[in-house]
């Protein structure tokens, strides 16, 4: 394990936005430019976004302005280490991010859960992370099973018949194998390839899940949460002071746009899995297209799980705490990159951007610069509450 140390203090201010004060300058052009939300437990780094520097390709992190002013900081890891005290969890997480060459939210999630499961963000988060990892494995098995059942229908073998025989029984297994051979023949693909393709597809789409699954996949559920978030926050905003109400409305709008785009992706993936036979025939092309949809969805929803956790935390709290939540989540709101923007409303976004940069972040003990472990624990508790 190598933990980089150093104090190369290169605080770069994000280009454009600082000079003209417009938020539109802060909207990334692409997902890669927006970066991946990293669930660090150092308060100043919470939900920082990681991306690759265009030139050197080294990892750099985008942090909201520490003083609460306009703009944000873009810092390489070495500068972060030289500028603030980071938790051991974050040092190990960064190390693993490098080892696994994390370049998308799905990989990030996997690495995050791996670190949390070791216990580096506390015992409760460790238990939760292990539970999530186990559940996700089981969910993938379920997805595979549902895909197989769908294929068996092509050769007129119903799930009821197999269940009646007892799924684990030798006769049912034999029948299933012979039916799958029949499916492969019918689809004109090698027998050995069929199961491999099902496994790959299942692994790819299990974060979304199949529409017929008894429980929705993680990303499908998160997409639904956005609707609840949008409606509830809009309701809260009506009774809030004007400035914060605007923020609430802005957050609701971003949630709505994200939800619309996410739903489209989910529907496209559902369409492909519904016509499973056609997909398996034109495998390379269709698999690439589903991969692109899943990738799009994971980028689109990246960072929303944290916002939704904060939202749930205050749902039964006072109006003041809800206002604080809206203010806290505002700078962290996962924005949709310009090239993905289908329904642009730059004027409104620009006006709200001025407000977005006003909030002060008190995250370190200002007297000593040492970590505020009460805040670290709050972040760890959120990790334990995430789905």
């Amino acid at each position: 394990m190598v933990f980089p140390v150093g104090c190369e203090s290169v605080w770069q201010l994000m280009n454009g936005a600082m000079s003209n004060g417009s938020l539109t300058g802060l909207v990334a052009n692409t997902w890669a430019e927006r970066g991946i939300a990293v669930p660090f437990t150092t308060p100043a780094l919470a939900q920082a976004r990681m991306r690759r520097d265009d030139g050197s390709k080294r990892r750099e992190f985008i942090l909201p302005s520490l003083s609460g002013g306009k703009g944000c900081y873009v810092m390489p890891w070495k500068s972060i280490l030289g500028s603030m005290t980071t938790t051991l969890h974050d040092r190990v997480l960064f190390d693993l991010m490098q080892q696994h060459d994390v370049d998308c939210p799905i990989k990030m999630r996997h690495v995050t859960l791996e670190v949390a499961a070791k216990g580096l963000s506390g015992p409760r988060a460790a238990r939760k992370a292990q539970e999530i990892l186990d559940n996700e494995k089981q969910y993938q098995v379920l997805t595979t099973f549902l895909l197989v059942l769908q294929l068996l229908k092509l050769v007129n073998v119903s799930s009821q018949e197999l269940i009646a025989e007892g799924l684990a029984s030798e006769s049912a297994q034999r029948r299933m194998r012979s039916a799958l051979i029949g499916v492969a023949d019918r689809l004109k693909i090698p027998h050995d390839d069929l199961y491999g393709r099902i496994e790959s597809l299942s692994s790819l789409i299990s974060p979304i899940g199949l529409p017929q699954a008894p429980e929705p996949g993680r990303l499908r559920a998160l997409t639904d949460d956005l609707t609840v978030f949008r409606d509830t926050v809009r309701g809260w905003a009506t009774a809030m002071p004007d400035e914060i109400a605007q923020i609430g409305e802005f957050e609701a709008q971003v949630a709505e746009m994200t939800n619309q785009m996410a739903n489209k992706s989910v529907l496209r993936v559902d369409g492909e899995t519904e016509g499973l036979a056609a997909m398996l025939r034109a495998w390379d092309k269709r698999f690439t297209s589903v991969s692109a949809e899943v990738r799009q969805l994971s980028w689109l929803l990246d960072g929303w799980d944290y916002v939704i956790t904060l939202f749930h935390e205050v749902s039964d709290k006072s109006d003041k705490e809800r206002q604080n939540m809206l203010a806290d989540t505002f700078p962290l709101l996962p924005q949709i990159p310009r090239e993905e923007f289908e329904v642009a409303d730059d004027k409104k976004v620009g006006a709200l951007g001025v407000i977005q940069r006003r909030w002060v972040r008190g995250n370190e003990d200002w007297r000593t610069g040492v970590l505020d472990y009460d805040q670290v624990q709050r972040l760890e508790a959120r990790r334990a509450a995430m789905k």
Partner: protein
């Protein structure tokens, strides 16, 4: 079984009841007219009530003591001659006032109480104003009429007056005489504990002090005594007092600041002493550490104001208070946190984990982490209370012990890794991430 014994039994049973049931008992107790009978129940459940903060029904007695309530201490923690009052004084004081205050006024006030919102300070002020004035006057007259100690007859009842109780009753009478100012201040100032006095607050306090100072220095002292009990940083109030324009000599003013300040210091020292002496009692480490941090904050604020007086006596007071808090931090708080930390971790070795399994449960690890944070916070305040070296030693010992536990041989790799991470986490919470990283790296390097 006597009635008193029955109440005692109720008090014991109440302690084990869930919150809603406890509040049910409180509602019944509130209806008992003779407070003497139920005092034991109330004393026993008071710590829970402090946390629950149930809406309290307002009685005439409660209204009477509203201006002085911030000065009351439980009898076992009460110390004489530092401007505090014992809860034991409530009953005799009430007997005196109930018997001597004009009956129609009592009835009028009691009737008015039923018509107002008991949580509204302004309503209570309006209803209580005449009552407090009259009560203060009759209490003063009662004390002036006979300066002897012993049993005194009041109407059809009698009270036993001791030297100390005389002093307490005098203080209560003085406060009741300025109840209007005290209650107005409560309405104007932030909720207690007041952590910050704004400019508006300071201006308000200066005006009240100046006005009372025009009447007598004693009234100023009484007013300060009450407001001081509501301050998280009492030094801030003393600064306001030191700068207010009171028609008295500098010597007198300094004397006033010194008297009130040393009383606050003494109270602080006694608090630390009480906490230290209650060592065996199970307390939440986070709450205990927070209490210590608040004491340090109070000490620092008093030192800031009183330190400038260059008074040898005051300096000694500050030193002894610092020593007392320091001793509490290093000998009680840190020791308790250390014990609790290893108690939770070592449950495994003794096979007494809550889960009955081989390793500590999530809850036990969390408790150990709470203790670790408590130790870290102790270390943070150690320098201020003069125990920096002792705390450093303690931290080094605890971390050394954790490191040994982290590196102890274990046949099962998964268990070994879990224990290593657990210990490293605790080291991080106590000594920071750099030290934790060193231990973690040393393990990886030795494993390679």
């Amino acid at each position: 079984m006597s009635t008193l014994q029955k109440w005692r039994e109720i008090a014991l049973v109440s302690l084990g009841l869930p919150d809603d049931k406890l509040l049910g008992v409180l509602a019944l107790v509130e209806q008992v007219p003779d407070r003497d009978q139920v005092r034991e129940v109330l004393d026993k459940i008071r710590p829970r009530l402090v946390k629950l903060r149930p809406p309290r029904t307002i009685t005439l007695q409660r209204l009477l003591f509203r201006p002085v309530e911030d000065l009351f201490d439980p009898p076992e923690r009460y110390r004489a001659k530092i401007g505090r009052l014992s809860r034991h004084t409530v009953q005799p004081c009430w007997v005196v006032i109930r018997n001597l205050v004009d009956r129609p006024l009592l009835e009028r006030t009691e009737k008015a109480l039923k018509t107002i919102d008991a949580t509204n300070a302004t309503d209570l002020y309006e209803v209580g104003l005449a009552f407090w004035g009259a009560a203060g006057r009759v209490l003063s007259a009662f004390l002036a009429a006979d300066d002897s100690v012993g049993r005194r007859k009041v109407g059809t009842e009698s009270v036993i007056v001791t030297e100390d109780m005389r002093q307490q009753l005098t203080d209560i009478a003085d406060i009741l005489a300025i109840a209007a100012e005290v209650e107005t201040a409560k309405i104007h100032l932030p909720e207690k504990p007041i952590s910050l006095l704004s400019q508006v607050d300071s201006k308000f306090l200066t005006e009240v002090i100046t006005r009372l100072g025009g009447e007598s220095t004693r009234k100023v002292q009484t007013f300060i005594l009450v407001v001081l009990a509501r301050m998280a940083k009492p030094g801030d109030l003393l600064s306001v007092l030191a700068e207010a324009s009171i028609p008295c000599s500098t010597h007198e003013r300094n004397g006033l600041v010194k008297t009130v300040g040393t009383n606050a210091l003494a109270k602080l020292a006694f608090e630390a002493q009480d906490l230290r002496l209650a060592r065996g009692k199970p307390t939440d480490p986070a709450e205990a550490t927070q209490a210590a941090e608040q004491m340090v904050s109070r000490l620092m604020s008093l030192e800031k104001t009183l330190g400038g007086m260059r008074d040898k006596n005051v300096a000694e007071h500050i030193q002894s208070t610092r020593r007392e808090i320091g001793t509490y931090v290093v000998e009680t708080l840190a020791v308790k946190a250390d014990e609790a930390l290893f108690e939770n971790l070592r449950a495994k070795a003794e096979g007494v984990t809550r889960s009955g399994g081989k390793e500590p449960t999530t809850e036990q690890v969390e408790d150990a982490e709470k203790s670790a944070i408590s130790l870290r916070r102790c270390a943070r305040i150690a320098e201020t209370v003069g125990v920096k070296r002792e705390m450093e030693k303690k931290i080094a010992t605890v971390c050394g012990q954790l490191e040994r536990e982290a590196t102890a041989p274990e046949t099962d790799t998964a268990t070994r890794e879990r224990r290593l991470i657990r210990s490293v986490r605790l080291i991080e919470l106590i000594a920071g991430p750099d030290e934790a990283q060193r231990v973690l790296m040393s393990q990886f390097n030795s494993g390679e």
